[in-house]
Symmetry: C3
Subunit: 246 residues, 3 copies
């Protein structure tokens, strides 16, 4: 596409949208990096967050998942609040953190608990507003059992089946569809392409549609960077095709 194509594109259609975007980026951004402030207000918040292809609640879910996964604690306070404003309830936020302990690693989850606690406290959200079931049974590692014999990494297989798939994914604190959204966002944030086909297929089974996943990818480009989003695009395309055939 040439630049003139691009500029002609931007002169068509939706010009009625061109009211000045409200200031969302903090003053420090506008003062020190005015163009970054402008892109923040006009492109990221003025356009991307306003697109209707994905709900604001879903945009908050993938944004928070990416921030926790990448350890961007400084941005997490604002986005936890935004998520609560967009209808993600406290139990779901706690469950997202718990889910990401497994998919992004314990340190990412544990570090975000402190931020979550402050946000909850500032909003007067107490433990009585957070429903959290706990498995009664202590899982026992059975990597020695026959079915795992001969596997290269029996413990990884066993924990995956028994704890991650058998327990974590069965928890009702977060809908399977939302859990898939979190898991896909976390894989994108890590640039872990090998896990995407399986997680995208699972997400489609769990009720996400292709348009939502593609829109989440575009949204996340702003939060995890263009490199990771562009690299994920062909993988997601292939996963859609494979799912269509299946």
């Amino acid at each position: 596409m040439t630049t003139s194509d691009a500029s002609s594109l931007s002169q068509t259609g939706k010009s009625s949208k061109r009211r000045p975007a409200p200031r969302v980026a903090p003053a420090a951004i506008h003062d020190t990096a005015p163009a970054l402030g402008w892109y923040s207000d006009n492109v990221l918040f003025g356009e991307m967050w306003e697109r209707t292809e994905l709900s604001k609640r879903d945009r908050s879910i993938v944004t928070v998942a990416a921030l926790i996964t990448c350890g961007h604690l400084a941005q997490l306070t604002g986005h936890f609040n935004r998520a609560l404003n967009h209808g993600v309830n406290p139990s779901e936020i706690v469950e997202m953190v718990t889910h990401l302990a497994f998919y992004a690693g314990w340190p990412c989850a544990v570090s975000s608990v402190g931020v979550m606690q402050q946000v909850f406290s500032a909003r007067g959200i107490g433990p009585e507003q957070v429903e959290q079931s706990i498995s009664e049974q202590l899982p026992v590692c059975q990597a020695e059992t026959a079915r795992y014999l001969g596997m290269v990494a029996p413990a990884l297989e066993e924990f995956t089946e028994r704890v991650v798939l058998g327990d974590l994914w069965q928890r009702t604190e977060l809908a399977p569809r939302d859990r898939s959204l979190v898991t896909i966002a976390s894989a994108l944030a890590q640039g872990q392409l090998d896990q995407l086909p399986g997680q995208v297929a699972q997400g489609l089974e769990n009720g996400l549609n292709e348009k939502e996943i593609a829109e989440a990818l575009a949204h996340l480009a702003f939060y995890v960077g263009w490199h990771k989003a562009r690299s994920a695009l062909p993988v997601i395309e292939a996963a859609f095709r494979a799912h269509g055939r299946a």
Copy 2:
């Protein structure tokens, strides 16, 4: 595996282990994210850290290597202390940080020095307890020499051979086996699969066995996330097969 398989599995064999797990996760985790606290106490610390397929000393080595590599400074104080308790000596910890300057990058190592210093100071570990040799010769970059002519990146090749392989890996402050464990953990933490086959082969040469490497992978799934661990599994399997044939 179906869920009922999983639950029947967890009712067999080792049920005698089902005493309540001691509380390891801090109160803030239990208060705000009870299920995360439960998984921490019962699964991560109650099961994984207790498995005998890898020593606690080795578990500490790979955990610390992953935390340094990912910049998880908040968790590093606790795990430096845990490592010292598990028999990693101060010289070895300093050398791990030095080794990771090369494999995870200078900023990761430099940032962790401050944490290390505080831990040492709190435990009364002084410089006299840290043995650190220093090469007498200042290496000189010889990328212009004939043997590097024609290479695309002569400087990278030259620094790799002369400094990393020729000097760093020759240092006696950390056993080659442990150095391999650190290097593999750091590659896993970065999701750098291309470097795994070579480092796994080197680790097997340096005295690690396949069971230990597979168990380190399962252990690290909790610290670097399931996505990276699952992606690494087929690469490690292939590396084991290739090594078995060699």
Copy 3:
């Protein structure tokens, strides 16, 4: 290469360079991790930064780009200052941050603005010394237009063409050559190999030469770690070959 080869290499040629390296690493590094201090002074600063294959200005550009991308805020103060000392002007630094909002993600850029502000303030650099143009037109997302119909991720394609390529890359605050250097450094820092061939080809078009890119790779090995640098090497070699044939 055997160790004896390595040591004979280091005894040839440039021995006149063997004056003691000046102390660059902070005292805390030398006190707690003497070998790391030694490698810092003698290898990283004494050798790598002194090599003439890449200017110090370019070394600062790729270093700052890698630090912003990886969120290494603790090292950023020093390297922003170093970059200013090496001739990167304030407008270029602000533009690097803005560029990296897209390539490393918004949180990385936003977090580094605070550090940049402090550095500018300490040096008496005010807004009047930072030139920043702002597009007058508010871009409007046209993903619904005919040309994007049928694409899997129309929004990602559209934002890429209209905003990233059509607007960001057209900005004159940073030369295309330097913008390529920043983009390549950021891809290397993320271990995002799939984006390298295209960005390397673009960089060569924008005036970088192969020697500079290869030297930037060696330089960045110290800042993003050996694993990522070694993984990128064959990809960059292939990109050079493909460009040579084109």
